[in-house]
C-alpha cells in the first residue's frame, strides 16, 4: 500500500507527468468543483432514483400503510390497525391452506429443479457433440415455462382427454383429469415448474466448465471413481453456484403464480389444492377487491422470503466452499 499522501504526490514531478492531471479552473474552489461533480452524478442517477422512488419505494410504503387499513379499492382506506394481520392468522382457513400449499410446492420444486438442472448440466459437460443445440433445447422451457400459453398447454396435456392419458391408454392404464384432481393437481404444477430447469442448468454448466481438468486427472490417478470425483471435487467447487441457484429458486418459488392461476382458472382448485400464496393474494386483491388485506399478505410474504433467504445465507457457512478462504 502506498504511503504517499497528497503533498508527496504533488511534490514529485515524475509522478505528475505519468498520471492524468486534474485541471482546476481559475476562480473555482475545490468545493465548488466537488458540487459540480455531484450535480453531474445526481443527474446521471436521476432516472434510477426516479424509478426506485416512484416505482418501488412509494408503492411499497403505500402498501405498508394499506396493510393496516380496510381498503376495498372503491372508496377510501379506513385505518384498522393490526386487524388484517390478526384475521389472517386467526380467522382465515384459506390463508393457512395457502401457506401449506406453497411450502409443499417450494419443498418439492426447489430440490427437484436443482437435481434435474445439475444432472443435465453434468451430462452436457462431457463434451457432447452438438452441445449448443442441446443447451438451447433444454433452456427454451425456462424462457416460456412461466407463460400463460404453456400453462394452457399443460392443462391440455394433463387434462381428462390430454396427451398423458392417451399415452397411459396405450398401456391399458385408465387416466384421469390430473389437473382437476386435488391429489394430482399440485404435482402437475410442480412438474411444470421442474420442466423449466434450463436457467439453473446454464448456470451450473458455466460453473462446471470452470473446474480445471487437472483436478479430475489427479483424483483418477489416486484411484477415485466417478462418484468420488463428483462428490469430492465437483460438488465442493460448485457449492457457491448451488447456493446461488437455490436462493434464486427459493425466492421465485415462493412467488409462483402464473402456472397455478392458469391451470385452476384463477381459483386455486380443485379444493384449494393449487392455492399458492401469491394466487390467494391475487384473489383477495383483484377478485374480492380487499386491497388492504392483500397488502398485509404481501408484507407477510416479503418477511417470509427474507427469513428464508437469511436462513440460507446463515447455513451457507457450513456447506458452501469459497476458493479464497
Amino acid at each position: 500500500m502506498s504511503t504517499l499522501d497528497a503533498s508527496d504526490d504533488q511534490a514529485s514531478p515524475a509522478t505528475m507527468s505519468a498520471r492524468p492531471v486534474r485541471v482546476i479552473p481559475q476562480g473555482r474552489s475545490g468545493s465548488a468543483l466537488k458540487k459540480a461533480d455531484n450535480r453531474a452524478a445526481y443527474l446521471f442517477l436521476l432516472p434510477w432514483l426516479a424509478g426506485i422512488l416512484l416505482i418501488t419505494t412509494l408503492p411499497m410504503l403505500a402498501s405498508l400503510y394499506l396493510s393496516f387499513t380496510n381498503y376495498a379499492v372503491i372508496g377510501l382506506p379506513a385505518w384498522i390497525g393490526l386487524d388484517n394481520y390478526i384475521r389472517l392468522f386467526t380467522a382465515d382457513r384459506r390463508f393457512i391452506t395457502s401457506i401449506w400449499v406453497t411450502l409443499t410446492y417450494v419443498g418439492w420444486s426447489v430440490p427437484l429443479v436443482l437435481l434435474f438442472s445439475l444432472a443435465i448440466a453434468v451430462a452436457l459437460n462431457r463434451g457432447l457433440r452438438g452441445l449448443a443445440i442441446y443447451r438451447s433445447l433444454f433452456y427454451v422451457p425456462s424462457l416460456i415455462g412461466a407463460s400463460v400459453g404453456i400453462g394452457l398447454l399443460w392443462k391440455e396435456v394433463f387434462g381428462e382427454r390430454g396427451v398423458v392419458n392417451d399415452i397411459l391408454g396405450w398401456f391399458g392404464i385408465a387416466g384421469r383429469g390430473w389437473i382437476n384432481n386435488p391429489t394430482f393437481a399440485l404435482p402437475s404444477v410442480i412438474a411444470l415448474n421442474v420442466w423449466t430447469f434450463g436457467a439453473s442448468m446454464v448456470i451450473f454448466l458455466a460453473a462446471l466448465r470452470q473446474i480445471p481438468e487437472s483436478y479430475y486427472e489427479a483424483a483418477s490417478i489416486d484411484g477415485a471413481n466417478a462418484w468420488q470425483r463428483f462428490r469430492r471435487i465437483t460438488l465442493p467447487l460448485i457449492a457457491p453456484v448451488i447456493f446461488f441457484n437455490t436462493v434464486l429458486l427459493l425466492i421465485n418459488s415462493f412467488q409462483s403464480f402464473t402456472q397455478a392461476f392458469v391451470v385452476s382458472n384463477g381459483r386455486g382448485g380443485p379444493v384449494d389444492s393449487t392455492l399458492l400464496y401469491s394466487l390467494y393474494l391475487y384473489q383477495q386483491a383483484f377478485q374480492q377487491m380487499q386491497m388492504g388485506y392483500a397488502s398485509a399478505m404481501a408484507w407477510i410474504l416479503l418477511i417470509a422470503i427474507g427469513i428464508a433467504t437469511a436462513l440460507m445465507f446463515w447455513s451457507s457457512r457450513y456447506w458452501v466452499f469459497y476458493g479464497d478462504r
Binding site: 376495498a72 383429469g177 380443485p270 384449494d272 377478485q287 374480492q288
Partner: protein, 446 residues
Amino acid sequence: MQVQFRAAPTRRSFLSGTAIALALAGTAAPIAAQDLAGEIRFSWWGGQVRNDKTDQIIQLFEQQNPGVRVVRENADFAPYWERLTIQSTGNNQPCAITMQSRWLATYARPDILLPLDDLVADGTLDVSGIPETVLNAGRGADGNLYMIPHGVFYFALMYNEQMLENAVANGVEPIEWPYTWDEYANHLRAVQPTLPEGAVATHNMGREPDAFIPWVQSHGEQVFDGSQVAFSRETAVAWFNYWETLRNEGVTESPEEMISENSALVEESNLANGRGYATNRPPNQLGSVQTVTNTVNPGATINIRPYPVGPDGTVGMDLGSNGIAIGANCAAEQLPIATAWINFWTQDTEAAGIYESDNGVVAIPDLATAQAEDPDTQPTQVRHIELYQQVVDTAKPVFWPAGGYQAMTDTLNRAYDAVAFGQLTPEQGADQLMSELQQQLSQASR
C-alpha cells in the same frame, strides 16, 4: 318443442327493422334529434360476435350523429369487472358503462355512477316501454336508479333433442314443464341407459350458482337478505345430496370432468360433442352452441327448457338485467352524448334488430315480440325469447349484495368440490359454504 333450424340469413335486414319500427309506432317515444358533438368512451363485455354487433350499432349511432365518436372498450366478462373497479378507483371509468344487476351493488354509489332518476324524470333518458320491474333492477341499495336496462337474462337447461327422441323411442316418458326436481332426476335416470356409451344424462351442476339459486328459491327460500346469507343449511345439504346421489348412480360426470366441463369452451363441451344429454348454459348462448354442435356433432339439435320447480310447484328462476350506466366522472359536455347513446341503444329498433337480444332478451316486451316474429331472426333466438316470455311472470329476481356473485361462485365451487372429492360430507360442505359465503359478504360490505 322441436326447433326447426334453417340457414342463417344472408343479410341483417334493415327492412325488417323498419317493419318492427312501424309495428312499434306509438310504443317507443321518438328520440329528439340533437346536434351532438364530442367523444365518449363505452365499455362492454363479450366475445367476437357481440363485439361485431356492438361495433355495428356504434357505427350506426355515429352515422346519425356525425359529430360524435364513441371509443370502444371491450373485455371478457371476468376481467371486465376487474378493469372497471380499477378505473373507478382512479375516477377514470368510461362515460357509458355496460352494467349488470348482479354486479350493480358494488358500483351503485353516486361517486362512481351517476344517479339517473332526474334524467328519467325530465325526459332526457327515454325509458318508455321498459317494464317497471325491469327498470327497478337498475336501482342500487340506496334506491337511486343507476342503470337503464336493455336486456333481461335468465337461466335455463339445455338438452340434446335427438338424445331425448331416442330415449322416448326406447320407452322413456317425455317430461313437460313444470316438473319438480325429483321428477327431473327421475327423467335423467330413465334417459341414462339409452345414451351412447360414455355419455352422461346431465352435467353435474352441484358447484354452479346459476343452478343452485333456482333450487333455493323453488324451495321457498331467499338467497340473500341484504348482505346476509338467507338460505337454510338444510336446503344446501339437500342440494349437495341431490347431486351426489345422481353422481353415485352414474347419471352425471366424475368430479374431475365436472370441473373441466364447468369451464369448457362450447367446442369442448359434452353437450356439443354428443357426450352429454343435458347441461346448463345461458340461453342466449343457444345460437352459438347450436352452431358449434352443427360442426362437431352434425345432426344434433340443441334446445332449452326451464329449471325444475319446487315440491309445491314454486318456480325459483332468477332474472337479471344488463343495461347501461353513466360514469359519475362523465363531463357535462359528454352527458348529452351518453344519454343519447343510451336512448339509441335501448329504444332504436334498428339497433335492437342488430343486437338481436345478444345479451339478454331485449327489455322492451314489444321489441322482444317483434324480434320473435321477425322471419329473419335466428330460430335459436326465437326460442330464447319464447322461453323467456313463458317463464318471466313467475321468476324471482335475486338482489345481489356487493361482491355477492363473486362470493357465491367462489364458495359454492369449493364447497361442492370438497363434497364431490369426498373431503367433506354434504353437511360439512353446507357449513363451509354458509360460513365462508357470509364471511366474504361481510368483508365486502365492511
